[in-house]
Protein backbone atom coordinates (compact mmCIF):
# COMPACT_ATOMS: atom_id res chain seq x y z
CA UNK A 1 0.00 0.00 0.00
CA UNK A 2 1.31 3.41 -0.90
CA UNK A 3 1.86 5.64 2.05
CA UNK A 4 1.36 9.30 1.35
CA UNK A 5 4.02 11.72 2.55
CA UNK A 6 2.91 13.54 5.69
CA UNK A 7 1.25 16.81 4.94
CA UNK A 8 3.01 19.92 6.13
CA UNK A 9 1.60 23.29 6.96
CA UNK A 10 2.49 25.64 4.07
CA UNK A 11 4.41 28.15 6.15
CA UNK A 12 6.07 29.79 3.17
CA UNK A 13 2.84 30.31 1.25
CA UNK A 14 1.07 31.68 4.32
CA UNK A 15 4.01 33.93 5.16
CA UNK A 16 4.02 35.33 1.64
CA UNK A 17 0.28 35.90 1.82
CA UNK A 18 0.67 37.67 5.17
CA UNK A 19 3.46 39.87 3.82
CA UNK A 20 1.25 40.77 0.87
CA UNK A 21 -1.62 41.59 3.19
CA UNK A 22 0.59 43.72 5.41
CA UNK A 23 1.99 45.67 2.47
CA UNK A 24 -1.40 46.13 0.86
CA UNK A 25 -3.22 47.05 4.05
CA UNK A 26 -0.48 49.36 5.28
CA UNK A 27 -0.23 51.16 1.99
CA UNK A 28 -3.97 51.77 2.04
CA UNK A 29 -4.51 52.63 5.69
CA UNK A 30 -1.36 54.59 6.37
CA UNK A 31 -1.76 56.73 3.30
CA UNK A 32 -5.26 57.76 4.24
CA UNK A 33 -5.18 59.95 7.31
CA UNK A 34 -8.91 59.79 7.85
CA UNK A 35 -9.02 56.04 7.66
CA UNK A 36 -6.03 55.87 9.96
CA UNK A 37 -7.64 58.17 12.52
CA UNK A 38 -11.00 56.44 12.27
CA UNK A 39 -9.46 53.07 12.87
CA UNK A 40 -7.73 54.13 16.04
CA UNK A 41 -9.51 52.84 19.04
CA UNK A 42 -9.94 54.88 22.11
CA UNK A 43 -6.69 55.14 24.05
CA UNK A 44 -6.91 54.61 27.74
CA UNK A 45 -7.13 58.29 28.50
CA UNK A 46 -10.85 58.37 29.10
CA UNK A 47 -11.29 58.09 32.83
CA UNK A 48 -14.32 57.68 34.99
CA UNK A 49 -17.40 55.53 34.78
CA UNK A 50 -19.38 58.27 33.11
CA UNK A 51 -17.45 58.44 29.91
CA UNK A 52 -14.91 55.74 29.49
CA UNK A 53 -16.88 53.76 26.94
CA UNK A 54 -18.25 56.45 24.74
CA UNK A 55 -15.18 58.18 23.40
CA UNK A 56 -14.22 57.39 19.88
CA UNK A 57 -11.57 58.51 17.46
CA UNK A 58 -9.63 61.65 18.09
CA UNK A 59 -11.89 62.71 20.94
CA UNK A 60 -10.21 60.11 23.03
CA UNK A 61 -6.76 61.53 22.73
CA UNK A 62 -7.30 64.35 25.16
CA UNK A 63 -9.23 63.19 28.18
CA UNK A 64 -12.57 62.81 26.46
CA UNK A 65 -13.42 66.39 25.51
CA UNK A 66 -16.37 65.22 23.47
CA UNK A 67 -17.36 62.44 25.77
CA UNK A 68 -21.04 61.75 26.21
CA UNK A 69 -22.27 60.74 29.58
CA UNK A 70 -23.52 57.20 29.69
CA UNK A 71 -27.00 56.60 30.94
CA UNK A 72 -27.05 54.19 33.84
CA UNK A 73 -28.40 50.82 32.89
CA UNK A 74 -31.11 49.34 35.00
Amino acid sequence: MDVAAPKRFPWLAVALAVVGLVIGYTSVVLTQEEAFAASRSCPNTCKGDDCKKTCTGEDCAHDCPGCKKQEPTS
Binding site: R8, V14, Y25, C46
Partner: protein, 146 residues
Protein backbone atom coordinates in the same frame (compact mmCIF):
# COMPACT_ATOMS: atom_id res chain seq x y z
CA UNK B 1 -10.86 4.64 7.83
CA UNK B 2 -13.53 6.62 6.03
CA UNK B 3 -12.95 10.32 5.79
CA UNK B 4 -16.51 11.05 6.87
CA UNK B 5 -16.40 9.28 10.19
CA UNK B 6 -14.32 11.67 12.24
CA UNK B 7 -17.41 13.28 13.72
CA UNK B 8 -18.51 9.96 15.12
CA UNK B 9 -15.42 9.62 17.22
CA UNK B 10 -15.15 10.68 20.79
CA UNK B 11 -11.67 12.16 20.52
CA UNK B 12 -12.90 14.67 17.96
CA UNK B 13 -15.78 15.91 20.07
CA UNK B 14 -13.84 16.07 23.33
CA UNK B 15 -11.16 18.27 21.79
CA UNK B 16 -13.64 20.27 19.75
CA UNK B 17 -15.96 21.04 22.64
CA UNK B 18 -13.05 21.60 25.01
CA UNK B 19 -11.56 24.18 22.68
CA UNK B 20 -14.98 25.70 22.12
CA UNK B 21 -15.56 26.23 25.83
CA UNK B 22 -12.02 27.38 26.63
CA UNK B 23 -11.59 29.74 23.69
CA UNK B 24 -15.19 30.88 23.90
CA UNK B 25 -14.68 31.91 27.51
CA UNK B 26 -11.54 33.86 26.65
CA UNK B 27 -13.13 35.61 23.69
CA UNK B 28 -16.30 36.47 25.61
CA UNK B 29 -14.18 37.86 28.42
CA UNK B 30 -12.25 39.96 25.94
CA UNK B 31 -15.47 41.26 24.45
CA UNK B 32 -16.71 42.24 27.89
CA UNK B 33 -19.70 39.89 27.74
CA UNK B 34 -18.91 37.85 30.84
CA UNK B 35 -20.20 39.35 34.07
CA UNK B 36 -16.75 39.47 35.60
CA UNK B 37 -14.05 42.07 35.60
CA UNK B 38 -12.84 42.74 32.12
CA UNK B 39 -10.62 45.39 30.65
CA UNK B 40 -12.19 48.75 30.01
CA UNK B 41 -13.17 48.84 26.42
CA UNK B 42 -15.58 50.38 24.00
CA UNK B 43 -18.72 48.35 23.33
CA UNK B 44 -17.84 45.61 20.85
CA UNK B 45 -18.97 46.08 17.29
CA UNK B 46 -20.97 43.49 15.38
CA UNK B 47 -17.92 42.72 13.26
CA UNK B 48 -15.96 41.82 16.39
CA UNK B 49 -18.65 39.36 17.47
CA UNK B 50 -18.69 37.84 13.99
CA UNK B 51 -14.92 37.59 13.85
CA UNK B 52 -14.82 35.92 17.27
CA UNK B 53 -17.55 33.45 16.30
CA UNK B 54 -15.95 32.46 13.01
CA UNK B 55 -12.48 32.12 14.52
CA UNK B 56 -13.92 30.14 17.41
CA UNK B 57 -15.61 27.75 15.01
CA UNK B 58 -12.50 27.28 12.88
CA UNK B 59 -10.21 26.71 15.84
CA UNK B 60 -12.59 24.36 17.64
CA UNK B 61 -13.10 22.12 14.63
CA UNK B 62 -9.35 22.24 13.99
CA UNK B 63 -8.68 21.18 17.56
CA UNK B 64 -11.08 18.26 17.19
CA UNK B 65 -9.55 17.17 13.91
CA UNK B 66 -6.06 17.59 15.34
CA UNK B 67 -6.83 15.14 18.13
CA UNK B 68 -8.56 12.82 15.70
CA UNK B 69 -5.46 12.83 13.48
CA UNK B 70 -3.19 12.26 16.44
CA UNK B 71 -5.21 9.25 17.44
CA UNK B 72 -4.73 7.85 13.96
CA UNK B 73 -1.12 8.96 13.73
CA UNK B 74 -1.79 10.99 10.63
CA UNK B 75 -1.39 14.49 11.93
CA UNK B 76 -0.15 16.98 9.34
CA UNK B 77 3.13 18.54 10.43
CA UNK B 78 2.92 22.03 11.86
CA UNK B 79 -0.84 22.28 12.17
CA UNK B 80 -0.78 22.36 15.96
CA UNK B 81 1.65 25.24 15.96
CA UNK B 82 -0.34 27.03 13.25
CA UNK B 83 -3.56 26.70 15.25
CA UNK B 84 -1.81 28.15 18.28
CA UNK B 85 -0.53 31.09 16.28
CA UNK B 86 -3.98 31.70 14.81
CA UNK B 87 -5.47 31.66 18.30
CA UNK B 88 -2.89 34.06 19.72
CA UNK B 89 -3.17 36.48 16.80
CA UNK B 90 -6.95 36.27 17.03
CA UNK B 91 -6.89 36.97 20.75
CA UNK B 92 -4.61 39.96 20.21
CA UNK B 93 -6.93 41.20 17.49
CA UNK B 94 -9.83 41.12 19.93
CA UNK B 95 -8.08 43.10 22.63
CA UNK B 96 -9.25 46.65 22.79
CA UNK B 97 -6.17 48.73 21.99
CA UNK B 98 -7.30 51.13 24.66
CA UNK B 99 -6.87 48.48 27.29
CA UNK B 100 -3.36 49.32 28.33
CA UNK B 101 -4.20 48.01 31.76
CA UNK B 102 -3.27 44.50 30.75
CA UNK B 103 0.28 45.03 29.47
CA UNK B 104 0.99 47.52 32.21
CA UNK B 105 -0.17 45.11 34.88
CA UNK B 106 1.42 42.02 33.48
CA UNK B 107 4.66 43.38 32.16
CA UNK B 108 5.17 46.26 34.51
CA UNK B 109 5.87 48.48 31.56
CA UNK B 110 3.97 51.32 30.05
CA UNK B 111 3.51 49.56 26.77
CA UNK B 112 0.47 50.75 24.96
CA UNK B 113 -1.41 48.62 22.51
CA UNK B 114 -2.90 51.70 20.95
CA UNK B 115 -0.27 51.58 18.22
CA UNK B 116 -1.90 48.34 17.10
CA UNK B 117 -5.28 50.02 16.75
CA UNK B 118 -5.18 50.66 13.01
CA UNK B 119 -3.92 47.16 12.37
CA UNK B 120 -6.62 45.22 14.19
CA UNK B 121 -8.55 44.44 10.98
CA UNK B 122 -5.32 43.19 9.42
CA UNK B 123 -4.58 40.97 12.41
CA UNK B 124 -8.07 39.53 12.16
CA UNK B 125 -7.62 38.70 8.50
CA UNK B 126 -4.28 37.05 9.26
CA UNK B 127 -5.78 35.01 12.09
CA UNK B 128 -8.65 33.85 9.89
CA UNK B 129 -6.25 33.05 7.06
CA UNK B 130 -4.03 30.85 9.23
CA UNK B 131 -7.01 29.17 10.89
CA UNK B 132 -8.65 28.47 7.53
CA UNK B 133 -5.49 27.00 5.99
CA UNK B 134 -5.04 24.85 9.10
CA UNK B 135 -8.58 23.54 8.91
CA UNK B 136 -8.29 22.78 5.20
CA UNK B 137 -5.09 20.89 5.88
CA UNK B 138 -6.60 18.97 8.77
CA UNK B 139 -9.80 18.10 6.96
CA UNK B 140 -9.68 14.36 6.25
CA UNK B 141 -9.36 13.31 2.65
CA UNK B 142 -10.98 10.26 1.13
CA UNK B 143 -7.70 8.38 1.00
CA UNK B 144 -6.87 8.80 4.62
CA UNK B 145 -4.03 6.57 5.72
CA UNK B 146 -4.42 5.40 9.25
Amino acid sequence: MSHALFYRERSFWIACLGALVALGTVFLWQLGVLPVWSPTRMPPETSEYMFAAVLLLLLSVSAGLYMWHREHKSCPIGTGKASGIAGIVGAIALICPACTVIPITLLGASVSLSVLGPFMPLLRIVALLIATVTLVLLWPRKHHHA
